[in-house]
Symmetry: C2
Subunit: 197 residues, 2 copies
């Protein structure tokens, strides 16, 4: 039977984890990106649908393309980050269910025939996977700077011109400079956010 | 500088974590629910918006109310679970920004005046928080059974009659019976889901 993780592990993943606004010069290698994806991919999605898609923006040309879509307060820190993940989803994720959920081959048609169900499922599960990505990065000793302050349509036009993938949020990634962390914001109390019925 | 967590911690949170379909009789106490919320609440949300709301369905009356909305394949296992979390979001989450994001008091009005932005932000960030909830539960040694197979409108009518909160997904919670875990499903490869640009 599982026990709680050590306090130091809970600290790193949750209690003491902080959004990074500035990173050290340490690069994020292909090997690290593969290890991160191989960790976060195990998080659960409904019917194992796995709609998340990731573009790791690291090269100069891709960075310049991304810069056009960033809000002014996010541009400089994102250009300076070792890598920026575009967390997106695949609008046609259901085509992969035949291999990813082999128990019921009719599931593809359920989504293919219901655009609202497909969109909601992709957005919900793609966001769940985005959170697994953030927590997995922290568990690997990386720091994250997730952002919603950008123009989704511009990112989609620049990186997903055929329209199949849709951007969800962005996440800078690297080794954070702890001296540039912002004061921590409050959280809602149990009573404000939860009830036991 | 943070190092990767021990392999045993990564195993518990990701590599070896499995969806629970049956739980032991060990109850989930108020104290455990408070500890879980106090852990997962530190996951990041955009502008610290924290739209997630949780109803922990544990009592007989609340369980009977929930049962009406469950798909047949989810009903028995959910009724037998120690507790089921209704993971929901607050459509009026922006009213709390004055205390939760004090740096910019105009942010409330941005969402109050843009229903699509408010809805997308609540769904995205409420789903991120739902994933933090799942990973935090696993980090605490609990097992999760998340589900989308239920009638959201029925749950909302039964638990959120004033219409302010919207159900997102359900998550059974307790100590899992490892003998009832299903065969593990595959995952997409790095090349299928990701690219480096």
């Amino acid at each position: 039977m599982s026990q709680p993780l050590a306090r130091s592990a809970l600290d790193q993943a949750f209690f003491e984890a902080r959004t990074a606004h500035k990173f050290t010069d340490q690069p994020v290698t292909d090997e690290t990106l593969h290890a991160l994806v191989d960790l976060c991919k195990w998080g659960p999605t409904s019917l194992n649908c796995q709609p998340m898609r990731l573009v790791f923006v690291r090269g100069a040309e891709a960075k310049a393309k991304l810069k056009e879509s960033l809000s002014p307060n996010n541009a400089d820190k994102t250009m300076a980050a070792p890598v920026t993940a575009i967390v997106a989803w695949d609008t046609a994720f259901f085509d992969q269910l035949v291999t990813q959920f082999p128990a019921n081959p009719t599931m593809r048609d359920l989504f293919a025939g219901n655009a609202k169900l497909a969109q909601d499922t992709a957005f919900r599960n793609g966001s769940l996977q985005g959170a697994y990505f953030i927590v997995a990065a922290r568990a690997m000793g990386l720091d994250c700077g997730p952002m919603s302050g950008f123009d989704n349509a511009k990112v989609d036009a620049a990186f997903f011109p055929d329209g199949r993938y849709k951007s969800n949020f962005l996440c800078n990634l690297g080794k954070g400079d702890a001296s540039k962390v912002m004061p921590r914001l409050p959280r809602l109390s149990f009573e404000e956010a939860c009830r036991i019925a």
